[in-house]
């Protein structure tokens, strides 16, 4: 099959890229080795967070936040997005100092979305919090969405614009010939002048086929969800000196993450919970919300994701292969960026440059 662009990876980045290219008239093929959003895209925490981003990601996250607030215009669905804000609480003076430094850094870069709040405002917003906290950093426009709903919306919209999507299709070989990339897969051959690598935890295998392997580490951050509780908290809560992401979903369940990793068997694509680490997560939750002692955990899981050593993604053209572009290695915080990553790739592919600052994400930073 011939197309303008072949995209490897049927996750959020792949479908967002396909969608933005299709909106500008390109004919795209998306190849997914399993089912759509099988790993990180479908089962992540769904955080829409600008708060505490790496400085290089801030410009992208701010544009992405705008996109999420109007996501229906892009994908005909609200993706169940809600914006109760995200807070990062300080539990002592040292934490507060850390947050003050962060706030100053963000201000110095010319951004206003992260705001320092004191004890009173914190307890007005999160009255359920244990009483020892002293303040917080807040981004009031942040929130969360439901990842699989978002993925389905991006996929459905992309396909409605003519994107050809094929699941259960594993890429086996990539070759250049006659100005085109020839992609051999378990379900046929695909050809296009442009190839996009959005293969998540498996992106390094594709990069290696192109002669530019990267120090990518696959990892599977663990999540827990509890039984439904009466509504008691609005913002998503993190902490200045603990690993935590805590929110009450609209249906009353609590979604608890903390970036603790499961044991991962990448060959079998299976994960095994690390209960020692999940116990740490449970203690963290109880330190901030001791009233939740008897709440029952219903389910735990982990989605397989790509981590880069500097914890920021690779976004941009290949350094070795003309016509190849990468978007992977989001290091467990890519969900919020997905609308903007698709836009950036469409710009890079069709215009030769992006209006957003993407230099820090170049794959060349890993060249030996």
């Amino acid at each position: 099959m011939k197309a303008d662009v072949v995209i490897v990876g049927g996750g959020l980045m792949g479908f967002s890229t396909a969608l933005h290219l299709a909106l500008r008239g390109s004919r795209c093929v998306v190849l997914e080795k399993d089912t759509p959003g099988r790993h990180a895209s479908g089962v992540n925490a769904g955080g829409l967070r600008q708060l505490n981003r790496h400085p290089a990601e801030i410009p992208l996250a701010v544009v992405a936040a705008e996109a999420w607030h109007h996501i229906r215009e892009l994908v005909d669905s609200d993706c169940d997005a809600r914006f109760p804000g995200q807070v990062r609480v300080a539990e002592n003076a040292a934490d507060m100092e850390k947050l003050e430094q962060r706030a100053a850094l963000v201000q110095s870069l010319g951004y206003r979305h992260e705001e320092l709040i004191g004890r009173d405002e914190l307890y007005r917003l999160v009255p359920a919090l244990a009483p020892h906290c002293v303040g917080a950093l807040i981004c009031r426009g942040d929130g969360y969405a439901r990842p699989f709903h978002a993925l389905t919306a991006f996929r459905t919209k992309a396909c409605s614009l003519g994107v050809h999507y094929q699941h259960s299709t594993r890429v086996e070989r990539v070759e250049q010939g006659g100005g085109d990339w020839r992609v051999e897969s378990t379900r046929g051959e695909f050809q296009a002048p442009v190839l996009v690598n959005c293969a998540g935890a498996w992106a390094n295998a594709i990069a290696a086929m192109l002669g530019e392997p990267v120090p990518l580490t696959p990892g599977a951050p663990m999540m827990m969800v509890t039984e439904r509780l009466p509504h008691f908290i609005d913002p998503v809560v993190g902490a200045a000196s603990r690993k935590l992401s805590f929110k009450q979903m609209h249906n009353g369940t609590l979604l608890i993450g903390g970036a603790h990793l499961a044991r991962l068997d990448l060959q079998r694509e299976s994960t095994e919970m690390n209960w020692r680490k999940l116990a740490v997560s449970a203690r963290t939750v109880l330190a901030l919300f001791p009233q939740l002692l008897d709440v029952r955990i219903v389910r735990t899981w982990a989605g397989v994701e790509a981590f880069m050593p500097d914890h920021i993604p690779v976004i941009g053209p290949s350094s070795t292969a003309p016509g190849v572009f990468h978007a992977f290695g989001f290091s467990a915080h890519g969900f919020q960026l997905s609308p903007v990553v698709g836009r950036i790739l469409a710009e890079l592919i069709l215009d030769g440059h992006s209006e957003l600052p993407v230099a820090p994400f170049s794959i060349q930073r890993f060249a030996a």
Binding site: R268, M273, L278, R296, R299, T300
Partner: protein
């Protein structure tokens, strides 16, 4: 006090687990048996140590057989831990336990899962109304507490247990208003070729005919080949309706007990990452095993009904065979001794299983019923997802169980999909023209039994401040 490591851990104290523990402990291995019930016997021999002579008589000879099994287990030296739930089992044989409100982890060299069966959940209109219960629950109340329906009961569904419960109720003086048999007439034809082999295990057939004769003598109204079963009522059950001989009929009742056969409880083999196959004959998923009950994960075995429905007798034999294999893997028995000790059980098990193909065909539930044809019927009662919502997800191109789960939340509630997994598979298969095997099974996520945040937080006490 539960230790942090055992050479052999057995999960479940039904016939498979009890028989296995007795064999292994008899060979001098340290065995720990974890049972979520308060006393040994499993479902089939529930209450066997404490039941009165009179109730034991009402429950029948098959039930009383459990007494011997439990006595042998009690004197075997195996360590017994009642009221102990397993909430996690990893491929590395790390076992999460919950006992008296305290969670702990331990490891084992060999793990035998003997978790038994569960009743096949079949959603039909009104099945979630108070007053509609599983026949198994009715039987538990009877066995454990002597509680029987006071104001009459309608029994509906298929399978030997339904017949047995009707017989047990009859002898306990309960008014059985009607026995509604949903097995299609065509089953009698399709089961017929399997009858000669079944005659090799005719104890089961004569037992079934004996129950039927008693029910007939007592003039219990038994209606065969009924379809379109529905439960009606505002806040609770008031009546049951169904189609019989082309006519829609209705019975006033306050209690409907349903039973659609049993399927293996595969939560533990699933969560441990064992491979499973769809068994089209038994209409259920079962772990892939070798002749010794060894699963696809090294050191994890499964025996009894959790490995495929074979009944209590076959479970006993399978339990002993798995125990021998575990002893072999632990270096306690060489190959020749294992094979020699297994000979008798292997033969008996084969003889006992002769009846199965016949029973499976005879009591087979129609695909039409399993596919939940009415769109408004709730399939996932935890998350309130209807059959129509699942069909809509399938129409959108979500053609495996896990995708439908992600999209609809079906199976994401506290029961972890135990109630809806089967129905979802059948619905998607029908909607997509695939087989149930192709729709896959929910990926089982721990904890398989609920655990509180406080219990998890205290899992490694040495790490708590």
């Amino acid at each position: 006090m539960i230790k942090t490591h055992y050479p052999l851990v057995i999960i479940g104290a039904g016939p498979a687990g009890l028989a296995a523990a007795s064999v292994a402990a008899g060979q001098g291995i340290e065995v720990a048996l974890f049972d979520q019930q308060s006393a040994p016997g499993g479902q089939i021999y529930r209450g066997i140590e404490s039941v009165s002579a009179q109730r034991a008589e009402q429950l029948g000879a098959d039930y009383r057989r459990g007494g011997e099994l439990v006595r042998a287990f009690r004197s075997s030296g195996a360590q017994y831990f009642p009221d102990t739930r397993v909430w996690s089992l990893t491929p590395g044989r790390e076992i999460g336990l919950l006992q008296q409100g305290r969670a702990q982890m331990l490891t084992a060299d060999q793990v035998l899962i003997a978790g038994g069966a569960m009743e096949r959940p079949v959603p039909f209109p009104g099945w979630t109304l108070p007053g509609v219960m599983n026949a198994g629950a009715g039987q538990i109340l009877f066995k454990a507490h002597g509680i029987v329906p006071a104001d009459g009961v309608v029994l509906a569904g298929s399978g030997p247990l339904l017949l047995l419960l009707a017989w047990q109720y009859l002898h306990a003086g309960v008014e059985v208003q009607a026995l509604l048999d949903v097995t299609p007439m065509v089953n009698h034809l399709s089961a017929l070729p399997r009858l000669p082999r079944a005659l090799l295990a005719r104890h089961y057939l004569t037992q079934g005919l004996f129950y039927k004769r008693d029910l007939k003598r007592a003039r219990i109204s038994t209606l065969h080949n009924i379809s379109e079963l529905r439960a009606h009522g505002d806040a609770r059950l008031q009546s049951v309706s169904f189609r019989h001989r082309g006519r829609r009929e209705r019975l006033e009742t306050e209690l409907l007990l349903v039973h659609f056969g049993v399927i293996p409880a595969t939560q533990l083999t699933q969560v441990a990452g064992c491979r499973h196959d769809w068994d089209a004959g038994q209409q259920c998923w079962r772990p892939r095993l070798d002749a010794w009950g060894q699963t696809s994960v090294a050191g994890i075995l499964a025996a009894g009904d959790c490995a495929g429905i074979g009944g209590a007798r076959a479970a006993e034999h399978a339990g002993r065979l798995s125990a021998l294999q575990a002893l072999h893997a632990l270096g306690r028995l060489d190959t020749a001794s294992r094979d020699r000790l297994a000979r008798q059980d292997r033969q008996w098990m084969q003889e006992d299983l002769h009846i199965r193909p016949f029973l499976e065909s005879f009591f087979r539930i129609s695909d039409a019923m399993l596919q939940v044809p009415d769109d408004d019927t709730l399939v996932c009662r935890c998350e309130e997802v209807s059959a129509g919502a699942i069909r809509a997800a399938a129409a959108q191109g979500h053609l495996d169980s896990n995708q439908v789960k992600f999209l609809t939340r079906c199976g994401m509630g506290p029961c972890q999909g135990r109630q809806c997994a089967q129905a979802v598979g059948h619905i998607i298969a029908e909607a997509s023209g695939k087989t149930v095997a192709e729709t896959g099974h929910y990926r089982e996520r721990p904890p398989v039994n609920p655990l509180t945040l406080a219990q998890l937080a205290a899992l490694y006490p040495e790490e708590c401040e």
